[in-house]
Amino acid sequence: MEIFSSLLGGFGTLFSSPHLIAALAGAVVAGMVVGALPGLTATMAMALFLPFTFLMEPATGLAVLMGVFAGGIAGGSIPAILLNVPGTPASAATLLDGYPMTRKGRAGEALSMAMFASAVGGLVSALLMSVLAPVIARFALNFQAPEFFVLAIYGLTIIAAVAGKSLLKGYIAGLIGLVVGMVGLDPIAGQLRLTFGSQALYGGISLIPVLIGVFGITQALVMVRESSGVTERPRISGRTLVSADDLRSSSGTLVRGSLIGSGIGAIPGTGTDIGAFLSYSEARRRPKGRIPFGEGNPQGVAASESANNAVVGGSMIPTFTLGIPGEAGTAVLLGGLLIHGLMPGPDLFTGSQSSLVYTIFASFIVANVMILLLGTLAARLFVHVVRVPNQVLVPVILLFCMVGSYAINNRIADVSVTIVFGILGYVMVTHEFPVSPLVLGLILGPMAETNFRRAMTITHGDWTIFFTRPASLVFWALIVLSLVYVWRSARRRRVQKPAESEDGPQAVRPT
């Protein structure tokens, strides 16, 4: 096939240039470091790097940007698994099972599963992108305001999957997220809402400071509380590689996660965080193995990490074929394309620049292999973080959270948001209120409202548009399935209740 020979040509260019390989490896490492630090995102690193790509060859410059992007999303899983603090929003679903694995001494396995899943997700999305980009891009255009609304509502049903013991408390956390998401300038009518005259709130409360607060600061406070008593450090099992058994039982999850992530990525206006949560809730529906989800099931890590890296590849599809960047990271990448005179569009794949495009795809594929190799090596090193005592970890977490929240926008207001949500998060997790639904509410609430009102504006108030378009109907069906699942598992839980209470109280951690 023509595409494969083009892709082979891309690999040829790539491997004939040791500089390019070195630059790519550097970019992946830099991306992983940046991704692992809360507050520093891959997008930010790409934006900072963009001016330097003016000076580089187009292939190198763009390969570097993609390496940083992919590395950043994979790197975010490291602190999520080891410390329960997601490095980027993309890893907010990874910690649901990643951190419990660490508590059970399986940190090394969790990390290597995360890296393996990241690589699989990246590779699957890269292949889809190389082979089917124009087709998928056309199809993704069916995704419009009505579909975004229904997708967001479907996403909100995931709250039930991550709620933990009490559904009511999960929904309450979700409601808090919805309220927080309404603060600021309403994007449809330009109405200031719930700002109470404070100009700092006009732009709303953004996701990352909240995320750093409810996971990072909360985790530090939980550790301080643990230090009050006798602390038993989690052991590290001998394993630093995920077992073949776990890989085998996760294979379905990995494939589904990669496909979900690629699909979500191809739809402009979604993101790595949404892809990871959708994949996680999908995996939960097909439980395998003895360990329940939320208590350290490696499949949870596989689902989240395969999907979020697949979103990276998927989001290249509309960027390259239609010039529509799916989210912030690809917007920077589009800037990189334009700077080097590459005009997005179907011609990009067949025209005079196509060899360059396939070199970029080849770089993305190699970057994902590097994530697997470098990430697995790094996992062996990072796993020892688990042995570091709290009196060292707590100051380090506090410091990085505070600096990280400041670094997002260089302003103190974000630091205040982080502190307030850190305290709220601590109060919540110590009383079995999960914090993940809060994050979901904050991500999906504005998406649901804005697209609902946008669609209503276009149709002049005709709500049937939400039920007449095929893609919306698919998501309505998924919503019904999801609610039936919640209802059935709630009933099952009620039946099993006496047995469950013998397990003793749950550990306190932000989920």
Binding site: L141, Q144, G203, G269, L338, T450
Partner: protein, 324 residues
């Protein structure tokens, strides 16, 4: 290629090191000693956005003309209110802290979003102007603005036009089109050009009023066509696209970006900076970045820029009052 990068980075370091020891104002042509230390350039938007890309290209090129490093700092938040508010209220007008302004500083105080206005800034040099354009899908039923108007008149409000947010520049550009052609359109706010483009290509949105640059890739790829450009004369880059003016409708509106500082700057320092920036705008490195990002270069010196901005402000405020 990697080595090329390292060399370039080393050259940058060397340059800035030399600049530190040089006697100030080497290329600036002013009489005073200004500048004697690095300049901070505040971007009121996130890294990677349009203003940020332009500011970084500007800073990289202008450094050589001022003989001092220019450090770009992003202070995004609250639709620009954070970064610009700091310049307007809490910055010394000594010329060492500058920003890149756009039309918003002239009219967002009208809506209570800013607690500062044009008078809180000293304008220095205009660098860019991007006119609004009315873009539709390539297979849309209209080939000319006339046909578009005819349909809009036949069924008022039936045609939907996307913009970047209520009361912002592109929403007001839509109002300007409505006013000039005496038609009624449905304004639909999106998060930005990307999501509006997705809606136009996907067929739920009929048209979008954004800057030419933001739909340029889709126009080049034959996915979209332009019904008119809101500029006095045709764009060099798009000689086949007619202006609204030549079709008989007085719509001249768009966005522009220029360098400014806090109000009350010393005219001599302003002159020094202006001279350097005007020279800078002729450099290929700046022009290349502008061209590749489809940003239009339009240079105006201080006095002209001031008058231009005041006219634009009056137009925007007028449109804003009309739309409410």
């Amino acid at each position: 290629m990697r080595t090329k990068f390292i060399l370039a980075a080393a050259a940058c370091l060397l340059l800035s090191a030399c600049a530190d020891t040089a006697t100030g104002g080497s290329g600036a042509g002013g009489e005073s000693d200004f500048p004697t230390k690095p300049i901070t350039a505040v971007v009121a938007w996130s890294a990677g956005g349009g203003t940020d890309v332009m500011m970084r290209a500007f800073a990289q090129t202008a450094e050589d003309h001022l003989g001092r490093p220019i450090n770009v700092v992003n202070k995004p938040g609250s639709s620009g209110a954070v970064g610009w508010g700091e310049i307007a209220h809490a910055t010394q007008p000594d010329g060492y802290t500058l920003t890149m302004v756009s039309p918003e500083i002239g009219f967002l105080d009208e809506q209570g979003l800013y607690d500062f206005g044009l008078d809180d800034f000293t304008l220095i040099t205009l660098l860019n102007e991007d006119p609004a354009a009315l873009a539709v899908r390539a297979d849309a039923p209209w080939d000319t603005f006339e046909e578009f108007i005819a349909d809009a008149k036949a069924d008022p409000g039936a045609i939907s036009v996307g913009n970047s947010g209520p009361g912002l520049a592109w929403d007001l550009a839509t109002t300007a089109i409505e006013r000039a052609a005496d038609i009624e359109l449905t304004h639909v706010p999106y998060d930005g050009a990307a999501s509006a483009t997705q809606a136009v290509l996907g067929g739920t949105l009929d048209a979008m009023a954004f800057s030419v640059g933001e739909v340029h890739p889709q126009v080049e790829a034959g996915e979209m066509k332009l019904l008119g450009v809101a500029l006095a004369e045709r764009l060099e880059a798009l000689p086949n696209v007619p202006t609204f003016v030549e079709q008989g409708y007085d719509v001249e509106i768009g966005t522009f970006r220029g360098i400014a500082g806090p109000a009350g700057m010393d005219p001599e320092i302003v002159a020094t900076l202006n001279d350097a920036f005007v020279e800078m705008a002729e450099e290929d490195t700046f022009a290349d970045v502008m061209e590749n990002n489809s940003f239009g270069i339009r240079v105006m010196e201080t006095a002209e820029f001031q008058a231009f901005f005041e006219d634009a402000r009056d137009l925007y405020v007028d449109l804003l009052r009309e739309s409410e």
